[in-house]
Amino acid sequence: MPEKYVIHTHPVPNRFKPIARSGVIAWEEGCLRCAVCVKEKCVYDVYYKRGLDARYMTDSIDNLCMNCYRCVQGCPKELIQKSVNPEFTAMGDSFFTPAIIARLWYQAETGKIPVSGAGYPGPFCGPGFDSIWTDMSEIVRPTRDGIHGREYISTSVDLGRPSDFLLLDDAGNMVEEPPVLVDIPMPILLKVPPFGNINHTTFLGWATAAMKLGTMLACSLEQLSVLPRELHPWLIPLLDMDSLNPESIPKGVRIVELVKNDGWEDNLAKIKSTFSDLLVCIRIPMKQGMEKEALILANAGADIIHLQREEALTADEKASEEFGPRHVKEGIRSVHMALVDANIRNNVTLIASGGFAMAEHVPKALLCGADAVFSEFQLLIALQCRMCRRCVSGLSCPVDIGGASAKWVTARVINLFGAWHNQLLEVMGAMGIREARRLRGEVGRAMFYEDLDEATFGSLGSVGEGFELE
């Protein structure tokens, strides 16, 4: 068995107090000065541990409070109340909801899978990936640890154009060189987000995280140029020029990305003839006609197709003819199926970006037909970003991301994806699938809300004459 892939995480403290969901409101007026105050009886010692963050004038109590409500329910004058924090509910957007942001913060801080007691508290289902349930196997599962002599779960995937078979001559030697493939240990690549209070220190932190994780970071050529040479193999520079000079491609780079502009075919040919071992990823937007585009690219010899959801943040609201499918889920399935129908699915890699918020979206994207995904906004949220977008309008960053050290950035990103990787293992283990490659397009092991709901309740739509709702 190959060496086991383990992401080592360790707690990395927040630089700023995170915004808590609810706050403790305690009045002094009318206090009876009881001999033993309910605040002293707090199981979690919240009232002892609390402190004031002098810089931001925030009280740490709301982050410490575990919501047992015993002080609220115990104070004889009812002077303590809990209330929802409006600053929390105002965070993020319809895609990166406050709850999702808070969960990502937790993972970047601790490197742990969120584990909690009591059942699922959320909505029955949600838009996009949240309307998929993954299957489980009642009796069979490979183990994440490979105990009892059984194989452990592999999350690695290949990037490139694997061939269907090897050609051998009479002596049993390979007739042609095997295809160039880049093997990444988990189906997640990183991508520099389009906004954020970021600078070369942030890039350095992200690129180092990509290297340590064994995955890659997509960035611009300019961003690559400020980073040390030893990181280049872990970067995917975007070459968005009309006419490309292959000499400009830095040495050591293993994958480059092209935009599908007018000169793309020339550029692809130039790269392929100059560097036989360089993989080319070509980016197309996820909108109408993308299936055709993908087929053209795959037939022209592109190694990787990057299906990019523009307007990822408001994917569902922006659903229209112009923007194509309602959700990334449908977009991936549609392109995947077009490639399957054309019999070339196995000869090209499909990576999707945009429309992913949480760890569970990764295996679901794979089930829909992607080989891997690009994660972008999570790179900011790992650094405590609140998705407030003040930076977009040139205002100051409330969590001063630009001021964070590269080391801190790296550790936070490793923590987040360490937690994601563990969650991927949980889902695959439950499914009884031991290879991430085998998740791709396996819709038989996914359950879709649209199908199940219609099949179960579609016939329960009528209220007969003379009947009413109870």
Binding site: S22, V43, Y44, M66, N67, C68, Y69, R70, V72, Q73, G74, C75, Q81, K82, S83, V84, R103, P114, V115, S116, G117, A118, G119, Y120, P121, P123, F124, D130, W133, T134, D135, M136, E138, I139, V140, R141, H148, M358, A359, E360, Q423, E426, V427, G429, A430, L452, D453, T456, F457, G458, S459, L460, G461, S462, V463, G466, F467, E468, L469, E470
Partner: protein
Amino acid sequence: MSSQSKFKFPEAVKTPSRFRNPIGKYRLHRTDKCISCGKCVEICSYGVHVIRRGKVFAENHYLCVGPGCPDPCHKNCPEDALFCRKNPTFDALGDKRWTADLLVSTWYMAENGCVPPGGLDYKVGASGGGFDKLRIIVKKGKTGLEDLPDEEFDTTVKLNRREDNAHRVKIEVPFYGGGMSYGSVSIRTILSRMKAAKALGTFCCTGEGGYPDELKPYDDNVITQVATGLFGVKEETIKRVKIVELKYAQGAKPGLGGHLLGDKVTPAVARMREAVVGHPLFSPFPFHSVYSVEDHKKHVDWIKAINPQALVSVKVSTPTDIDMVAVGIYYAGAHIVHLDGSYGGTGAAPEIAKKNIAMPLEYALPKVHRFLTEEGVRDKITVIAGGGIRTPHDMAKIIALGADGICTGTADLVALECLRCHNCESGRGCARGIATTDPELTELMEHDWGTQRIINMFLAWRKEFVRILKRLGMKSVKELVGRSDCLVHLDYMEKKSLKS
């Protein structure tokens, strides 16, 4: 009806909150203008106001029903000294599945043994799908059953339909208590649930954590669980009970094992589970001895060899092929197939597993019911639904979708004043003394109080369920099984009316 009249349900006994300030939806504020005339005490039929030594207090303002009140005290106050506001703490409480309304109304039921009189939605949550979009439909007007006393309605469920040598067990109410292990919850919580089960003529499951000696008096109402870790499973414990449950998977963490954090492994827990104090305990997944239906049959046979009269229940989660799994369970010789839906409770589980793996109960149950019927074995096996049933309305809906009865868990804990803070797994466990093994926190709750709270809640459930049966014109729970025509799904109803 003679067999039912033999069983007598206990009386509801008012059992107020353990805490000084119960949380309600509304708060009544009294200003200095109050002249203590007593008008509010007189007109409030909910007992919000009390008069003591000539002074009036809104002592029970958690009982206030808010704007829907027919005689609002604040509008009748001669001095305008009262005003009613929504309680800000109420808004910070609850979640989409267990809304603050559901929590507070369950507390009301546990206190009073009946559903709340108004101001709270005690029927559905806000999850936006499944149970929360299903409604029961009834004929307009009277059914003629309105005036029949509740005792005339048959809520019993036969658990042995194979009619074999095993016990012919019948439960008096269409529900029993789901497994919660010693270790995940306190001994007082377990005892409260067991004693309530006995009083209500039903069962309660030990979960996978051993069979404490304190439960011996309730042997006839205990279901003992055999799960993958085999913690505390002994020949003797299997012989002691009428029902043995084989747990393959749990809805909240399907395909994953159990996990008891080290902090909760106190000396007593460690002794019971034959483990080391302070070390986390993992129940593996799956049974390493089961890789096929044949292997599963071997497990069922083991149980039957040790206790030939035991009923065998098999608890599984809800994968795509749940219908095949259910039939396999039947042919292996089990008496009960227990489906645990993916939105059920847990003492600790990865959040990713609670939401994303395996399907909700509302989809799985009708699928199993249909398939067992088509295979011609539906009347030979009892189908129990669990995992995400919060109210008597959920219970009626899932029975209409094909279950014979249901299994509860979280609702029992809410009756004991759980407010779903989700911290059962961390540190010393539950700060409210329910899901903890910490000796000091366990002291927060008396088991007599807990027993009565659970009895009260379930009496309210039965009463409400019988009310639904009356509205449906049915006299027994059996008539409702599989009657999905008694349900309407709001999404599809809307579509239909939009089309026409």
